[in-house]
Symmetry: C2
Subunit: 214 residues, 2 copies
């Protein structure tokens, strides 16, 4: 019975995600679903990415949080179009939430829309929102066991950004294990090592990302 | 329609949680629901806690993960009764999952049962499992904005363990903001600062915890 409910929700979600995808394609905007655990550094990576890409690309942002608009305020300060979604209790964004805010963004003026999902390594990977690409941020302070414990997100992502590399000297994180387990789950996964604090690795990441267009 | 489904699921869950609670009370076991984001250090804190309390209290553990049994292997190595639940896709433990494994634990021999929930700051706070007390672990590497972004878990928890304090010199985390925002959400919240790496703060935490009995 419970499984039935979930299936129905996911099917309904996928239909709306497909409608979103058509709208994004018509508008000529490339859409990224940015996922990661609470505190992985999604918003800080987004700030760094916007600053790096802004001279070349028109970027818009949708921020997903349970409550509050701190992240939208941070992104808005960079002078890019941003909409904040508050999910209430929901631990992930779904296609319908995205559909409801599309009219609040100048889609046709954008090259790229980055959707920052709720901080969660589980459900955001299950709910399509109409994106062209999923990517995830993992803080190395989260430890090396995350790929095997949350495999779906690693499988679904095209890129894995390993953040907070500046903390590596003070951690026991086995980076080879992170890399090997991630690639075993998803051999096509593109892996970047960055520090959003120092800025190390951001250029390589932003250059790769700027290659994607609708 | 979607809201209706969620309500029904939560009502059914609460009924089963109440049945679990009666079984725990009959068995004389005090039950803790241990929550936190992926990589907060829940399992490492659990290892430290078991080692500190083991001379005085009989502890049992239920481990909740999407897949795998790494955490149960780690806890089992400490020679305490442990059961691993794999939730499949579910981002939280629910009362029914707990109910189904209770016969696999020697409840009447235990003083305390610690249930380590799936790594997630959202849904584990919504689903009661029959516990006497909820508590949460927050890694200071997750940043100081977590209380305001994930308020329910801070409201529902009796204790907040701030872990990875050894990383503080290398972080920009504003500990006053973490403390003040947490206490504004939940004035009765008991806050501990620990490092599971160095062991700092574990004694005070374990002494406090050992005061709870069924």
């Amino acid at each position: 019975m419970k499984v039935k409910v979930v299936t129905r929700i996911l099917e309904a979600n996928d239909r709306i995600a497909e409608e979103n995808r058509k709208k994004f394609k018509d508008a000529g905007v490339f859409v990224i679903n940015l996922m990661g655990a609470p505190g992985a550094g999604k918003t800080t990576l987004l700030e760094r990415t916007i600053l790096a890409l802004k001279p070349h690309r028109k970027i818009g942002v949708i921020e997903g949080d349970i409550v509050g608009q701190d992240d939208a305020d941070r992104i808005g300060a960079l002078d890019v179009p941003v909409v904040q979604i508050n999910t209430g209790g929901a631990c992930h964004l779904d296609a319908n939430m995205i559909s409801e805010v599309l009219d609040d963004l100048p889609l046709r003026e954008l090259d790229m829309l980055i959707i920052e999902n709720v901080g969660n390594l589980v459900c955001p990977a299950e709910f399509k929102v109409g994106e062209d690409m999923k990517m995830m941020v993992l803080s190395i302070a989260e430890g090396h066991d995350k790929p095997l414990k949350y495999p779906l997100m690693f499988r679904e992502s095209s890129a894995l950004v390993l953040n907070k590399m500046d903390l590596l000297p003070y951690m026991n994180t086995d980076m080879n294990k992170v890399r090997n387990d991630s690639l075993a789950l998803n051999p096509k996964l593109k892996i970047f090592e960055v520090s959003c604090t120092s800025g190390a690795g951001i250029d390589a990441w932003a250059t790769w990302l700027s290659g994607f267009r609708s």
